[in-house]
Symmetry: C2
Subunit: 217 residues, 2 copies
Amino acid sequence: MTMTTDHLTTLHRKPDRGRTDRAELDAVLDAMLVGTLATVVDGEPWAVPMLYARHGDHILLHGSTGAGALRHVGAGAPAAFTVARIDGVVLADHLFDHSANYRSAVVRGNLEVVGEDEEWDALIALSERLVPGRPAEVVDMTRKDRAATLTLRLPIRDGRWIVKVRDAGAGPAGRDPSAWRGVVPLAEVWGDPVPETDLAPGVEAPASVQGLRGARS
Amino acid sequence: MTMTTDHLTTLHRKPDRGRTDRAELDAVLDAMLVGTLATVVDGEPWAVPMLYARHGDHILLHGSTGAGALRHVGAGAPAAFTVARIDGVVLADHLFDHSANYRSAVVRGNLEVVGEDEEWDALIALSERLVPGRPAEVVDMTRKDRAATLTLRLPIRDGRWIVKVRDAGAGPAGRDPSAWRGVVPLAEVWGDPVPETDLAPGVEAPASVQGLRGARS
């Protein structure tokens, strides 16, 4: 039942679960909505969950310009961004070999502040990740909105990331061939949209909302 | 669309989303299976996703005794453990106010190695978290299994954790009252069990597997 540990970006444990193709990193990053940004503040670990979007060779993050810690990491501090999702539990025929199917990634680097010339595109990319198609449906951000937003990006550089995936069954019978073995999948599934009760008459759920159905891959 | 940042355990941004009741921390920790353990190695941030279980006043973690980084954090290094789950996307009538419903927690402290006298209980608690009821159904761990496992725990101490929850609608109409506003919920849902194809004849899915149905809270 071990989802073990990597020392920085070197894969010491269970190297068969490591993936080295950049496309696999992108697939894992693009499958999730939230990750954990970790950095070091006064020698102590600091970590915070954040929405994000991969956009080309960057992980985009954003927050309020009033958030002191974001300004700190925005100033070039080394950071590690982690995502993980459990895709199922794996039942073996004895306790020690129980496990989980999962996808995870850690990207290391130094955060950069996204400058004004690129910030608009970055914020749209973040919005598209959360609700695809929504930016084109609604009133856009204003300059004032943008001024209140600190947008950061973490470059995805060769040798500075690690991806691990387990996507397999329980394996052959072990200590008790009479026991059930197998996988119970766990998926992220969209529920029915919940409109605000005070919508203007006749306002229907737009295409972006209609698109959020079924399981997220 | 901002899920902002906390400087260490102090809640500077959107304090209305912070929860101070220990029971709310436990509820958030107990709702998830995977988190991110962050620490500092040679002055650099280090982070890895890990399965975990809250067990009383501790967060339990485990890995292989062969994992060097786990030994490092086990030796008392300061750590931050983060969990986060997106419960839905929140659509406003203009882009800037889009958001997400979520539950998140960060617990800070110094990891301890769980000693032999308590390790058995800790490993059972971890297994129960992943698949409730499974430990009683299958062949137990051996002493050798346990010797191959490094079990760590992070104490949950007053003032060293932060919980944030957003669980609300889109709020009142803003810049465009003609636009749809509302929430699209996102849930974790168990799929149908997938047995190994070589099970002995007549082996049925046990109670633990039958219990993994529907949405996880």
